[in-house]
């Protein structure tokens, strides 16, 4: 069966494929783990900052400890963000796919196929 060469859609396709950014393998899983690790690390830093401040007599040292604690809070917040971003994405994809599948099943059970 003879067919014409597909120049236009092929050229566009090759251009679009060339523009695809390929993530490093397992990047999403790695970032999820980094986020999970950052949460307790941030909390630990905050607690360490509190202990440093409590055991200090000078305001300069206490200011340093305050900064450690603030960094700890920031690390924890970033960790929460990363964790939610990469855990929810997978869950939401699954939830959407399941919803579409259930709607499709419901539609098919109400409407038999032509060959039946």
């Amino acid at each position: 069966m003879d067919r014409p060469d597909a120049n236009d859609p092929t050229d566009r396709f090759l251009q679009d494929v060339a523009a695809i950014r390929v993530k490093a393998a397992g990047r999403d899983a790695l970032l999820l783990k980094v986020g999970a690790a950052m949460m307790p690390l941030g909390i630990a830093l905050t607690v360490i900052g509190w202990f440093l401040s409590r055991n200090s007599q000078t305001s300069l040292d206490q200011n340093d400890a305050l900064i450690v604690a603030v960094i700890g809070v920031a690390v924890a917040v970033v960790g929460v963000g990363l964790f939610l971003r990469y855990s929810l994405a997978e869950f939401l994809r699954f939830w959407l796919a399941r919803m579409i599948h259930q709607q499709d099943l419901a539609a098919r059970s109400n409407h038999p196929t032509e060959s039946e």
Binding site: M1, R3, P4, P9, F13, V22, Q103, D104, A107, E114
Partner: protein, 233 residues
């Protein structure tokens, strides 16, 4: 001819169970490749790897000359890899028009989408406000094909296009697929209607137990299948 898709030693599976054990396949621009085989052979898994839905555990998925293992399906869809899954894949609670509008993700406007779809399938023009779930199986499959056409795909993956449909309806759908192929779209079609698929295809591949057991011209594959089922002449 430009090679659009190349699978090199593809291995894939689910939850540690390997289904594909080293699949090699080449699809050139504007060609039709029929993937045949018994139930459970791995045909749908193969399409899921190509579409990006399933990341292969081994081997290379080379699309347009680039290794794209692990690239999300949405990214490949935006680039021009279009899949019509087993079971149509239309949104049953949306109307025909709304289903078509869902395909504007490649930057094509709504009116252009409708114009293209109705040019290929004039029957859909009379049903624009009908809810897709109330259409017959053949009409839903027609809508699924229309949704694929409007995206201007370069590579179209069809999984069991004829499933559950009457032969006359299947014939109409295959004629539409043939028109797409003549327009230059590369097509990989998984089918159990062997004769219809072989009439359409430029090449055919038989997959059995996750491996390519035979590959060649449709006439050769037809003879091999006939010999396998009915004995050599």
């Amino acid at each position: 001819m430009t090679t659009l898709l190349e699978l090199r030693g593809i291995r894939a599976g689910y939850d540690g169970l390997e289904v594909l054990h080293g699949i090699d396949l080449v699809v050139e621009a504007g060609s039709v490749v029929a993937v045949l085989g018994p139930n459970g052979a791995g045909k749908t898994t193969l399409l899921r790897v190509v579409s990006g839905e399933l990341e292969p555990s081994g081997g290379d998925l080379v699309v347009g000359g680039r290794r794209l293992n692990g690239v999300p399906a949405a990214t490949l869809a935006r680039a021009g890899v279009c899949t019509i899954p087993e079971g149509r894949g239309v949104f049953p609670n949306l109307t025909v028009r709304e289903n078509l509008w869902m395909m504007t993700h490649r930057g094509v406007g709504r009116s252009e989408v409708e114009e293209t779809a109705f040019a290929y399938f004039p029957q859909l023009a009379a049903r624009t406000d009908q809810v897709a779930g109330t259409m017959s199986g053949g009409e839903q499959q027609m809508l699924a094909l229309a949704r694929a056409v409007v995206t201007g795909p370069a590579l179209l993956l069809l999984d069991e296009l004829s499933m559950g449909l009457a032969p006359l309806v299947v014939q109409g759908l295959f004629e539409a697929v043939d028109r797409l192929a003549r327009a230059g779209v590369a097509i990989v079609i998984v089918e159990q209607f062997v004769d219809a698929a072989l009439d359409l295809a430029d090449r055919a591949v038989i997959i059995s137990q996750g491996r390519v057991s035979s590959e060649g011209a449709p006439a050769q594959i037809r003879d091999e299948l006939r010999a396998a089922y009915f004995g050599a002449a």
